[in-house]
Symmetry: D2
Subunit: 230 residues, 4 copies
């Protein structure tokens, strides 16, 4: 995973957010289920646990582990901030940036993408709509993920309810950046949502409650992974 | 450590900030040195490593481990935020709040203190001057620590260079809150700085570079601990 | 109005927020209605229009005009910030600080209160609950106004629906600060709400939609003013 | 000025920041000098005074007046925020967005540009480097202005000291957006700095201290305007 450009697609990134179902010991268990599905299907699944869980999760599994955020700061006097070097040493190979629940100033997104690149972390930058996705693409991250905030956590999949958001994003982003991996997220909760997302020319999904709060996260992840093959 | 009121004083809290000298494996090593001094001297020393290092540090030592910050949020959809439950499960028994490098809105300081209390975490709230310390004291945290930002990281100790900041803080805080533990910080870099801080009626110090960037952190911590006994 | 200590109580402060009904020309008209009620009843009514309306309002009326916010900055390079000197020259004699819709870091509240004092502006600091009101009182502003955010704009008056919020605030604040003027706000929409607020030992109210969005703002303001006399 | 597309270039935008030399009565005087130069030379000069000065400035002069910032909010409950409708009614015809001293989250920049367009305000979005300028260009504002923060206020002109910042910006921006007006700023303090900026394919400059703090702002503005003609 040291070379972000070799990131395998399609990819499913599971954001653990601050769900108790994916905190501490349960974060490790959920990551192990994701790894099991990866081993069974060959589909790349990455997990994004909370900061305090990165080390234990990264020790327990071999699938890619992402931080949920890093700060655009250098080592030194930044109490309470999240240092790239720290999550890297804990085992993270990538990081979410600018998630709708942890948005950044534009100049900080730019600085964080550059910092991630410098420190060997895959950058996955979130955007709330097609125009913002295009702006993000201009900053050349490894991944851009479009997620309309109003659908996050609803179980109403962006790929099905707002396909034009996805297609507009793909169109605008590709007009600016041919290489960036494009994901979509928000409401993704069934295999079919994933299949449609791929049909719309994305290369994967960013999912949270659809997996974390599923009755049987393993089975749902398996359904997601299988859906990438149709 | 479940009862904050039993927190032993004098206390020395070592803030690891985002120093590389106190990140990852080195965070564990530094915490072990602090534990060694505590065992030799009986003086309470707490350590505040980065989020990703809390679990490993808490596993390695028995001295109190603090988070550097927590967010006033409930479990759920707070990507990139720091959940009280998460740092608690990782082994933290307390948290810094409102450090000058990670300041919060007033209503969030209030909410975070209440959250820490509810979750069994000792709250140590930082303040930049005497009047702000008094305001913090009105919110009834376990600990208030006054730290003039202009002295942080300078090696010029607040207790010696600005004793009136410390004495004014003690006076204003005690007029409002008889129980809160009062610390001072900023520039504390020698045992004498600690001794003077205690003479000025504080109950300990919050220190960072004075220990983390010392040539021999163990010896300096030992000097600090010994100084609390004069 | 140059001496904040001479601020007459009871006082009614009308926050124009960003309501179109109180923007531009309509801000001036509403302020003139407030002035009319002041002249008829002798009750002190202050108005807090948007920044761009301060000058026109202050030119049109003689009642106190407050800014809705100022930034704790000095003259110079602070593009897009609100300079104390600027609102002062435009005619403001006071400012709201830390309104729930424009909250500040604790150290900035402290700095802004001191700046307002230095520049001859009355400081009215908002707080969301009793403990935060107490913290604010420790910073010695001229006025503290408690406003539970969940009641703002509802028409359900804090003084009637949550009288304990008001009485707890008065008790905690008076334990720390004997001089500060105490207001309450949120949902104040009838004269009776004002009368009850005063009975609970506040010295006035901070009101917004109750006046700005009233069918007849003049009559409602008159009802408020008359209610202060019972 | 109701049609932003008719904005005349080259353009000089003078940001008054929070300089006392450009506050209140002095803001009007400085705007009048800018208008005089426009009348003498035919060069478009816009001024961006503080919020409280917009109305008086717009009443005194006929040249374009910009706000220094607006918030991406709708009319209603946004105490202390800057409403597009408010600055519009006060006489502004445009607004700066994301100045380095008043930076916004990426999604807020996008929302503010859309809001400005909807309300008939010209949008001038600031960016700190070429890649951020490209990201801004993808959001389709009327104007993008690149300003390396480290040169702001130094008197060392970006066009002369870091010409590659300007040329890289022009190249990246034009690869994404053929129409947006491109300005540069930071350190512009002589006519020659302006001439070089135009030679590097920008369409004008954003200037602050170079004019506001000049010994003779009128003469310096005249020098700037004349320099656009070479």
């Amino acid at each position: 995973m040291t070379n972000p450009l070799k990131l395998q697609t399609p990819i499913i990134i599971v954001n653990f957010k601050t769900y108790l179902e994916a905190t501490g010991r349960k974060a490790v268990e959920l990551a192990e289920k994701a790894e099991k599905v990866t081993k069974e299907t060959g589909v790349c699944i990455a997990v994004a646990p909370q900061f305090a869980d990165i080390a234990a999760v990264a020790k327990a599994v071999e699938i890619p582990v992402f931080a949920q955020h890093i700060d655009p700061v250098k080592p030194g006097s930044c109490t309470g901030h999240v240092l790239a070097e720290s999550v890297r040493e804990a085992g993270a190979v990538g990081t979410l940036i600018n998630h709708s629940e942890r948005q950044l100033k534009l100049s900080d997104i730019d600085a964080t993408i550059k910092l991630a690149r410098e420190k060997g972390l895959v950058s996955c930058v979130c955007a709330n709509n097609p125009s913002v996705s295009a702006a993000v693409a201009a900053l050349k991250p490894d991944i851009v993920s479009v997620e309309p905030p109003e659908l996050i956590g609803t179980g109403i999949a962006v790929s099905q309810a707002q396909p034009e958001v996805v297609t507009d994003t793909v169109k605008l982003v590709r007009g600016i950046n041919a290489k960036v991996i494009i994901l979509c997220g928000a409401g993704i909760s069934r295999g079919e949502d994933v299949a449609v997302a791929l049909k719309l020319k994305t290369q994967g999904v960013l999912v949270a409650s659809g997996i974390v709060k599923a009755k049987d996260p393993y089975s749902m992840l398996r359904e997601f992974a299988d859906a990438t093959k149709h």
